[in-house]
Amino acid sequence: MDKITCNFVVNGSAEEVSFPPNRTLLHMLREDLLFHGVREGCSHGECGSCNVILDGKLVNACLILAAEADGLEILTVEGMADGEDLHPIQQAFVDESGMQCGACTTGMILSTKNLLDANPDPSREEIKDALAGNFCRCTGYAKIFESVEAAAETMKGGQQ
C-alpha cells in the first residue's frame, strides 16, 4: 500500500495530504489534518457524527475514502464560525441548550446547515426528516429541534 497524495480545500484552505489508499475521509480529516469536530460514532453511516459537506453535499465521512474526495471542497464544523463569532446555527445550539454530551452536535449542526440552506423556514416535521440521519445518544431531541427553529428564526432576520 504505497501512499497516495491528494489535494483538498478544507474550510477554505488548500491542503495537500499523503495517506494510504484505505484511509477514510473521516480519518484523514481527524488524524492527518486534526479537524476533531469530525467524529467517529457508529462508523457505519447510521449516526451522522462524521458529517461533512463535500462539494456542497451533506455526506458521512466514515463511508468515503479520502482518495474519493481528491480535488474537492470540504466543510467541517470548524469552518462554520467567522473568527470568534459563532455561526447563527452554532449560537442557537448554545442558547437553546441543543446538546448534552456534545458527541452528536457537530453533525447536527452540519445537517441543520444543509436543511436551512435549502429551506429557510422548515416545519417541525421537515426538521425531524432532515435530522433522521443524526443520532443523539442522550436522546435530547426536543432541545435540538428547538435549536434548529431558533437558528432559522435568526437567519431569516438577515443575521448571518
Partner: protein, 294 residues
C-alpha cells in the same frame, strides 16, 4: 458472537477515467483482485465489517462522468446512468411525475447523507431483498443494461436477482444504465414501505404497484415485493388475476390475497416473522391498488 469491526482492511485504490479501462481491468478474472464501487455506502461498510472478501484493489467508478445522467423521453422512456445518485432520482420532477413509485422508493433509502452518495444501480447490485428501489423497478418493468469487453446485454429486472446479495452479473460485467419503458396512458404507480422507523429502517415489507386503468378495468398490472422473499420478486398470479378485471374492491382484495400467497418470507427473522410478513403483503398490496384505483 458479534464482531464489531470499525477499521478498514488494506487495499489499493484506482479511479479509471474511461469505461473501456474499467472493462479491461475486470476482464482480468482473478478472484478478489478487483471490486468496483460507485457511492461506496454499502461497500465501505461491508469492508469494515469483513462481510465480503477483501479485494486487492477497489475501483472507483466516479471517474466515468458520462454514466451520471437521467434521460427522459416521452416516446422512448427513462434511462438512469449507473452513477446517478439516489438524491438525483428522488428529486427528478420527471421521475416523480411519470415513475412515481421509483421517486417514492428513492426517498425511502436511508438518510440524506446516504442518498447524496448512494446510487440506484448500487442499490440493486447490492441485491438486498429489502432494497427500496427494487420493488418500484420491478413494478415499472425496468431492464438493466450491462457491458463487458465483448459487448452488451439487457437483463429484465425480475431475472437480475438470484439470491440474497447475489445477481446474474458476471465478474467481468459492469452495469451501464437502468432503462424503463415509456409511461402509458392511464397508468400510475406507487411504493409503500412498512418500516416502523421510517427511512432509516430497512423495509419490513416494501410493495410497489404499477397499474394501467382504462374504462373501469385494469388493463395491465405489475406488482413488486421487497423483503417478502430471498430476493425482490414479482407476483405473477395476482397480476394475472387483475389483467382485464373490473376495478372493484372485491377484485383488489382477491389479488392482494394471491400476492400474499406468492410471498416467501423467512419463517423467523429479527425484524418480523413470516406470518406477519404474509399478512402485511396483503394489506399493502390492497392499499396500493386502492390508491391507484383512486
Amino acid at each position: 458472537m458479534v464482531v464489531f469491526y470499525r477499521r478498514m482492511p488494506r487495499f489499493e485504490y484506482l479511479k479509471p477515467q474511461r469505461f473501456e479501462d474499467v472493462l479491461e481491468l475486470l476482464a482480468d478474472g482473478t478472484p478478489n483482485r478487483y471490486r468496483v464501487f460507485a457511492g461506496g455506502t454499502d461497500l465501505m461498510d461491508q469492508l469494515k465489517q469483513r462481510k465480503i472478501d477483501v479485494p486487492e484493489t477497489v475501483i472507483d467508478l466516479k471517474g466515468l462522468a458520462e454514466l451520471d445522467f437521467i434521460d427522459f423521453d416521452k416516446s422512448s422512456g427513462l434511462r438512469i446512468g449507473a452513477l446517478t445518485t439516489v438524491t438525483d432520482v428522488a428529486n427528478s420532477p420527471e421521475i416523480d411525475q411519470h415513475y412515481s413509485a421509483l421517486a417514492q422508493g428513492a426517498r425511502e433509502i436511508a438518510s440524506i447523507q446516504i442518498q447524496n452518495r448512494a446510487t440506484i444501480t448500487g442499490n440493486i447490485c447490492n441485491a438486498v431483498s429489502s432494497a427500496d428501489s427494487a420493488p418500484p423497478l420491478l413494478a415499472l418493468g425496468a431492464e438493466v443494461v450491462c457491458a463487458t469487453g465483448k459487448g452488451e446485454r439487457s437483463i429484465k429486472i425480475e431475472d437480475f436477482f438470484t439470491g440474497p446479495g447475489e445477481t446474474v452479473l458476471q465478474p467481468d460485467e459492469l452495469v451501464k444504465e437502468i432503462k424503463l419503458p415509456p409511461p402509458t396512458k392511464g397508468s400510475n404507480s406507487v411504493y409503500l414501505k412498512l418500516a416502523p422507523r421510517g427511512r432509516m429502517d430497512l423495509a419490513w415489507i416494501g410493495v410497489a404497484v404499477w397499474a394501467e386503468i382504462s374504462a373501469g378495468k385494469f388493463t395491465e398490472v405489475r406488482i413488486g415485493l421487497g423483503a417478502a422473499a430471498p430476493t425482490p420478486i414479482r407476483t405473477p398470479k395476482a397480476e394475472a388475476a387483475l389483467r382485464g378485471a373490473e376495478v372493484s374492491q372485491k377484485n383488489i382484495e382477491a389479488a392482494a390475497a394471491l400476492a400474499s400467497g406468492e410471498a416467501k418470507p423467512r419463517e423467523n427473522s429479527f425484524r418480523a416473522g413470516g406470518e406477519y410478513r404474509h399478512m402485511m403483503v396483503e394489506v399493502l398490496v390492497k392499499r396500493a391498488l386502492t390508491q391507484l384505483a383512486g
